[in-house]
Amino acid sequence: MSSHTVIKQVTKSTFTPSLLRELKSHIDACDFVSLSSIKTFSATSASSWRRRLLPFDTAETAYLKAKLAAESFQILNVSICPFRVDGSKVVAFPYNFHLFPREEQSYSFSCQASYLESLARKGFDFNLCIYEGISYLSRVQESLAKRRNASHLDFKVFSKSRKSVADSLFMERIKARIQYWRKSCLNSNKSPHGDLANSLRQLILGTQLHGERPCMTIDVCSDNQLNLILETVNGISDSLVPLVVRNSLGTPTSVRVVFTSSEEDKSALLSDIDHAEEEQNFNLRGFREVMDLISNSQKPIVSINCLNDFAFFHEKFIAPLPPSLHEFTCSLKMVFPKILDLGHLMKEIGPLKNAMDTSSSLNLEVPFQADRDGGQSNQGRNALKIISLFVKLNYLHICNNIEGYFNIFHPTACMELESVGCQDDTNTYLTHQEDIAKLGVHNLVFLWGFNAASSLQLKDKLRKYHPIFHENFDLKVIDRNCAAIAFQRQGAVVELLKEIKPRSSSIENMISDGVIIAGFGAYEKVCRMGLWDGRLADSLQTVVLSDNTNSPLLAEKSTEICWDNEVMLDQNEYLKV
């Protein structure tokens, strides 16, 4: 693909219903939609344990971390590209939407400073985002907002069967007021006294204007009064249209009675109101309209790092994230039924990497015309890179059965598109996948409270504590004083943990040194309880101290993890084991 490929940049001023119609027609005519986003954070460049995916993260803990990130950070760009594969040619329509929330959607948010600076170095335009970003409301936020700003006309009249004397008096009084005013409206057109007298009369009667039409305002103190007024207005004449005026909390404060001169005038008023509401809703939903469009099209979505991205999309555009991965996937499936995670795809085809077509280059056609200014059209290339990768993987013919790959996320692989985008690195990535040891969470223990300068030194120390550490195990330092240990042998962990709680004499030295060991269950609990603040050792300690079941905190169920030997966890871990 050429670096001059035109990507449509969409900001507040160019985000219109007609743009949306154009996007819809492209989506309808395409086979797939590729999606990518830029956030104020990147999991691959984060350093703290709560932000990064660690080699012992399960799908569940990876989801909880993605949830935390989606709740804390903000989306700045979403690039969307409907595309279709025509033989050897790919036709694509790339859009890049610049987003920035309003205060009502997001009071404050976090940023990862080093990542923002790396974006800035690559030319990312933060001013464009903040000055011109499109706002949005999630589906849940919208329905809450709707409850507050209920429509002018949707207030139903509940006719009470029995009215009190006070009610009847109130209605009579209102009726007299409205009728008197209405009469003056009917007469005003043929008044012989001229403009001055008219405006004087209007002043005295409290006549205002709603657009070009006369109207009067009646204050409302309760829902009962509101009901009575609406009932009265409806009883007087069809030419009067009552509009309910509400304050910012959605409480009705007054009724505006609008006078229409004819049946046509009335329907014109009603359609004006509909229009204004439509426009207001469009602005309110903002970018959410685009996500709804994709959702409604039911087209398969191709993306990468799906767990993270779709956790963000769910949180920002659909609803607050549920507490478990299972609920999340169920909820997501209702909105986006077919998602293809290239991360998962690449893992699956790892053994076939030699078949990867290294010579083919993508024949990409983007029918968009360059804008006159042609400026910042380079932002949002990731959706195109995804297409390129997808097409290359497709050439491996493993995608004949594409349905079989839908909706399986590869949760523990976070990839930098920059590196997987080019051929060589893709191969490296695929080769690397084979080096990752398949271990279960039952092979793991966490260890903290030690005092060692390197993992090598720590390993030495452990061997002196307990004979089990003479077995084959791998050790990774997570942050300064916490480590994860993976035993090769099944059952080693259970044996070790068995000796912890009753304080067997064989580990006396370890305990008196202040070194503490817990099973994977402790880490699961930390993530589930949201003990994200501070160091991992402190959070694990909190869990162990609050646990009064005397259990060794084993993992709840056996789950496979990808213990990646290449991953270096702590910058301070200069020595490799």
Binding site: S48, R102, S108, C111, L116, Y131, G534
Partner: protein, 510 residues
Amino acid sequence: MAARRGLLLRRPLCSMATSTSRKGKVEVKQVRRGDSYHDSLTSLIQSASFVALDAEMTGVASTPWRDSFEWDSADVRFLKLRHSASRFALLQFGLCPFIPQRDASSGVVSFVAHPHTFHLSPSSSSSSSEGDYDDDDEFLCQTSSLHFLATHRHDFNTSLRRGLSYLSRAREKAAVAAPLLCTESAIGFRHLIDLLSSHNKLIVGHNCILDIAHMFDKFIAPIPSTMEQFMKEVHQIFPNVIDTKHIMNANRTVQLLMRNKSKSLSSAFSSLCPTISSAGYHRSVRASDVNVKVQAHDDEGSSLFNSGAKHEAGYDAFMTGCVFTQLCVHLGITFDQCLSDPSISDPLQSNVKLKPYLNHLYPTWNSGTVLDFTTGTEKPEGTYKQKYPKVELKNIVLIWGFSSVLKYKNLKGCIAKVFGPDSVISVFFIDATAALIQFRKEEFVKDFLALKESLERRKDDPISILHPLSVIFEGGNTKAGDYNTYKDVIACNQSKVLFKDQADGSGVAC
């Protein structure tokens, strides 16, 4: 897209760009990564009578309930201040040295101001390298603050692309072990702050407690855990600080002068310094006005100058300094000393008339108190016009998680049924999910909490259901505590939008 402001202005050495050329046009030197500033500014600071400063940050409060409230105790206000300064980042830091000079013809002392705006990189924001928190790399943004800066055409790209990085003293110390992190340029900007400190320079800010807190957190060390300790440590490093907002509120002459006028910086600038702020409009120069000129000279001839605008840190620092000189006139302070006796290194801070205001900072909320950094105490300030009646903290109950339809009237009504018609003095809604209730008597607090507990114990009992207070506890999610509980929730690290979620997540006793 933001219109780029300013042009690259080359100015001959020592030319005077006086502010009298056009209305409000003040040349502010822009300092970004790679720009030279250090030597010239060092000598300017050394010869300045005082240095005015101002900071622009990415936000102030991370949630609505972290804003300052009328019912916040001094402790709570400090917790909010500390959270704000440690979590939000600085985008710009403005320094403006004011150098005295004697007018050759009239013999009157005037000032030459040198406004500088430093664009800072947020990546060096946190000073908690050693500390308890592992997220050095993260900072918060308040959405409304960014929108606000955008309306003033703030250039976010400059901060992120060319912002200066800096190291706090604490970090520099910690970085000795890993010298790679500790680059020359990173320490460079911090050295200016050290210079202000080592020369005991008079520092002038407007409503500057938050700026001082940011300065401490970013350039010195993490803010200590108590207000007393914080004030003591600030005072050791910056022994001479003036808050112009405090002078405006505490001096009767100035109060009279500014009656019914806004005390915001830009309003104070236009009302106190009309000859500077609207120079060029033919206003008569009053004899009492201090003349301030702006010097935009440049030894290197390659620096970028922008004409200053409101809410640009360098320009705000300039306005603050001008306001200060004019306030000095109203306090009866003359500047002759600034030049006459070079042996007095700090003529202003030793001035008897300024002394009562030295190191007295306006708190984040008008609580009728002032922060005295010399003694490290918060003391009542009689001359402040206090807007609100005093609050008895020990008479306060905190409730959260109640039904969203519960309003002031029902709340007060059902409590009155139990504790008597005048039992509740007032109710303050922190947000839609939490409220503070002030009782007339302290014992009502204990009674209320005890009653809540007993009603919960007998949940399904008809007496509980019919009890007037059951309106508050309906739904079973209402929790309550005393004022200490409120403080504990504020002290937590997270920032959930709703107070209820914060309180439930923080695990405070209830």
